[in-house]
Amino acid sequence: MNAKQDHPDKHPLAELDRLIHAPARLMVLTYLYVVESADYIFLMQLTGLTWGNISTHLSKLEDAGYVKIEKKFIEKKSHSMVHLTPKGRQAFMEYKTSMQQVLGELPD
């Protein structure tokens, strides 16, 4: 998002990455940020999302280059392991910094 370059005075909320800002995707990215990789079922159980939901959100994140889905054989069984890409990790950190800045500036 290049909003800041176009409008330097824009509020930080306007700069938030909307792909990450959706609660379901934010949850998925939060968990992927703290682990190396996880499969669909693990993410489903942690987030409480259904298979359909998680699949849709992961597809969007994969299209944006934020996550990578790889088929791995673990103990002779195929598992689709999802992990955060460096681009996704950076986008998540930027989002976190922006949110902390926005929330930190709010009066009590």
């Binding site: 934010l26 939060t30 669909y40 079922i41 693990f42 298979w51 689709s80």
Partner: protein
């Protein structure tokens, strides 16, 4: 969104989810029961057979638990690989635990084996077992910290107390029956079964689980 994104809590949730199937406790409980059985075997058949129950448990149960984990746990909660920082934490705990075991061996057992300090006042009969008990409590405290599971600490307390407990019981009542090891093993085993049942109820196999992994 009014809450901060707490990454540490997220990581703890992931660790807890991966270790709450109770299988680990069941294994520990059976190992403790087998240690108790070792004492009975020693009294009946003599020293070389003392390790038989423990060896049998390790040979059969450790691979058995892996199979059960594959059959029960993975289809329910899936798979996770932790990040290098968490792996480093596990490694630090392992190093610390190995150092503790080596320290105990060098400082406590080796002088005893080599009969150092002969002529010095004798230690109380429960001393060595109490030290081992403390070592066990220390081991489980670190494990509890690494697994983010508080109940592991209490298992350590029960396990650790059973060691001098058996020695004191033998000394005071003249019975070699490993009462405290058996009680400790039983308590941990039953706790593990309760945790497993709760886990199976809480995490049914997701309907789309297979498809999820066949994407």
């Amino acid at each position: 969104m009014s809450e901060k994104i707490n990454l540490l809590d997220a990581e703890r949730s992931a660790v807890r989810l991966s270790t709450q199937d109770g299988l680990w406790e069941i294994l520990l409980g059976i190992i403790l029961l087998s240690l108790g059985a070792s004492n009975i075997v020693r009294d009946q058949w003599g020293f070389p057979w003392i390790y038989l129950p423990l060896v049998l448990v390790i040979i059969t149960l450790v691979p058995g638990m892996r199979m059960v984990k594959k059959a029960l746990t993975i289809p329910r909660i899936g798979l996770v690989q932790f990040n290098p920082q968490r792996k480093a934490k596990f490694k630090r705990v392992n190093t610390l635990l190995t150092s503790l075991v080596l320290f105990t061996f060098i400082v406590i057992l080796l002088p005893k084996i080599l009969n150092f300090g002969a002529g010095m006042p004798a230690l109380p009969y429960w001393f060595i077992d109490a030290l081992f008990g403390l070592l066990v409590v220390g081991f489980f405290t670190f494990l509890s910290f690494a697994l983010e599971t508080r109940r592991v600490f209490f298992y350590g307390l029960i396990f650790g107390a059973s060691m001098p407990g058996d020695v004191i019981y033998k000394q005071e009542f003249g019975s070699t029956f490993p009462m405290f090891s058996i009680i400790a093993g039983f308590v941990i085993l039953v706790s593990g079964i309760v945790v497993l049942v709760r886990f199976l109820r809480q995490f049914p196999i997701p309907e789309t689980g297979e498809r999820a992994n066949e994407r």
